[in-house]
Amino acid sequence: MSVSPDDVRHVARLARLGIDDGRIPALVTELNGILAHMDVLQQVDVSGVPLMPSTAAMPLRDDALPPDALQRDRAAFAPRARDGFFLVPRLATHGQLGASTGDDA
């Protein structure tokens, strides 16, 4: 499988990487070079492969236990904050309703 410049632009967008167009050709070459090495995996017979051994049961946390408290105030690391909120550039309001809708920014 090989990657086109549009593929790279699309993937960069998905990952919010802000790659400028001048770098795209080199990235296409690099990624295709790397992906070419992965092709060998297509030929491997994976039938009958046992699933990774399951370790012990997932450890569950008691509802009453406290969190790992912050040792430093949020103001010490927040890039921009006011009245306890983290601030970001104004969002389109529809995204605020209920849970986030995703991919709106």
Binding site: L60, D63, G84, F86, V88, L91, Q96, A99, A105
Partner: protein, 485 residues
């Protein structure tokens, strides 16, 4: 509820509901932060729910228990192994840049919820496709500061169950009924406050139309921002009408997310760019698969109280009440519990139902108290109802006594006697009054005894007046009627 009929023209409405419900745990799903509401912004946060570098999720045992109970209450199969997965997207209220959810191996599948009875008497079953666990996102506020949005992550990490129905719903009313009954079940199972207005129950509606008889599904739109059951009904009606109109005129339905505007009663398209999102789901590497043993799941099932469907069936069988009445009594667990206690105390289920749904509910709402905090206790009300049933109190007198009992407590029969509310049913006293009235109104008496039965009502009224309202009108009727021969 009658069998749904296709709408305008020959279009059939097809609806599925996706409901997100916040579980009432003390702490968040993956960290120990409190889930309490209304605290200062970002005051209930820690490295985990802030998504700080190096933080890791650890699953809350109680959230698993509540999610399991919710699944069992909906008749689902709870799987002994389920897997968490990352749903990747960028948004400021999503601290890690992914939501931990469940994807192809959810907690539970294949349940159902009865929303009423079809025309042929069979239950109208809406199938539940799946129930899975996930974390809630934070909140963003857009109007507090100029030019910026303010992010509060207190809600981020609150445990949710997502309950997805099959597209079995066929009317707007059914959609609202499904939501109401779902809320009831979640409340009864004590897993959530399930309050739409407060946001602990969030309902999204997926809606499409197709020609009646067509097996395939049409393109669906999704409606969000529904804050009440009636909003669900209104929004569905609006969107159904719109889709029919579009299709009738030869247009196509585009897959959109829509928002319901309650104030204007409109459904409008959200401004986001369309195209499906690529969430790049993959199994959450920070959480091993969740394994539940059958004995533990059985214990969760035992911990469930009698749920609305079973209670509904029992009420019909045990108390002989009509479906509409049962619906109302089951509106809240508190009301249903109180009703049963009163019915037992009075030995009169039908009368108890009338009293609970009429006088008591009105009084409780007027006083603004919880139903089990109302001053008239189960025992007192039970005694009062027994007095009414035996005929010692007329309905009017009973209601007067009720009001008296609200003011101060006492033995109902004593209070009624002292207030002169007890109806006299003693034959000799009644005969004496009847004789007196007949003597005082000889002309009417003669005509009545001669066969003019229509005078009976007038004479009963006169006897009631003579007795100062104390006579039992039923008995007076009986005795007078016997005189007429």
């Amino acid at each position: 509820m009658s069998t749904p009929q296709p709408g305008p023209g020959t279009w059939e409405l097809v609806i599925g509901l996706e409901v997100h419900c916040q579980l009432k745990t003390r702490s968040k799903i993956f960290c120990g932060c409190a889930t309490s509401f209304g605290d200062a912004p970002n005051s209930n946060t820690c490295p985990v729910c802030l998504g700080l570098p190096g933080a890791l999720p650890v699953l809350n045992a109680h959230a698993v228990a509540l999610a399991t109970r919710a699944s069992l209450a909906l008749g689902c199969t709870v799987h002994d192994t389920s897997v968490f997965a990352r749903k990747n997207y960028f948004y400021p209220d999503l601290p890690k840049g992914y939501q931990i959810s469940q994807f192809d191996r959810p907690l539970a599948t294949n349940g159902g919820l009865v929303v009423g009875t079809a025309a042929d008497g069979t239950p109208r079953l809406i199938r539940v496709h799946r129930v899975h666990m996930e974390e809630d996102a934070g909140k963003s506020v857009h109007d507090r500061f100029a030019d910026v949005s303010a992010i509060d992550l207190n809600r981020a990490g609150t445990p949710l169950v997502e309950i997805v129905s099959e597209p079995d719903i066929r009317t707007a009313a059914e959609a609202a009924s499904y939501a109401r009954r779902l809320k009831q079940i979640l409340e009864y199972a004590d897993v959530s406050d399930a309050n739409m207005e407060e946001g602990s129950l969030r309902v999204d509606v997926n809606i499409s139309v197709r020609r009646a008889g067509d097996e395939r599904l049409g393109t669906k739109t999704e409606i969000k921002n529904l804050n009440s059951f009636s909003a669900i009904e209104r929004a569905v009606a609006i969107e159904f009408e719109r889709q029919c109109r579009v299709l009738e005129s030869g247009g196509v339905i585009e897959q959109h997310t829509m928002l319901y505007d309650d104030k204007r009663n409109q459904v409008r398209s959200a401004r986001s760019k369309e195209g499906s999102h690529d969430y790049r789901y993959f199994p959450e590497p920070d959480l091993p698969p969740l394994r539940l043993d059958a004995a533990w799941v059985a214990r969760q099932r035992e911990a469930l109280p009698e749920l609305p469907p079973a209670r509904r069936a029992r009420f019909a069988a045990q108390y002989g009440l009509a479906e509409a009445e049962i619906d109302q009594l089951l509106a809240t667990q508190a009301l249903a519990d109180r009703f049963e206690a009163v019915a037992a105390a009075a030995g009169e289920p039908r009368k108890a139902a009338n009293w609970m749904l009429g006088t008591v509910l009105a009084a409780v709402n007027a006083a603004g108290v919880a139903i089990d905090a109302h001053p008239v206790s189960v025992e007192r009300l039970g005694a009062l109802i027994r007095l009414e049933a035996s005929g010692e109190l007329s309905n009017t007198a009973a209601r007067q006594l009720f009001i008296m009992l609200e003011q101060h407590d006492g033995e109902p029969v004593e209070m009624a006697r002292a207030a002169g509310l007890l109806q006299v049913r003693d034959d000799s006293a009644l005969v004496a009054w009847i004789d007196a009235v007949l003597a005082e109104h000889p002309a009417e008496a003669a005509r009545f005894l001669g066969g003019e039965r229509k005078l009976q009502g007038v004479l009963v009224g006169l006897v009631m007046k003579k007795s100062g309202g104390a006579a039992d009108p039923k008995k007076v009727n009986q005795l007078l009627g016997a005189r007429a021969g």
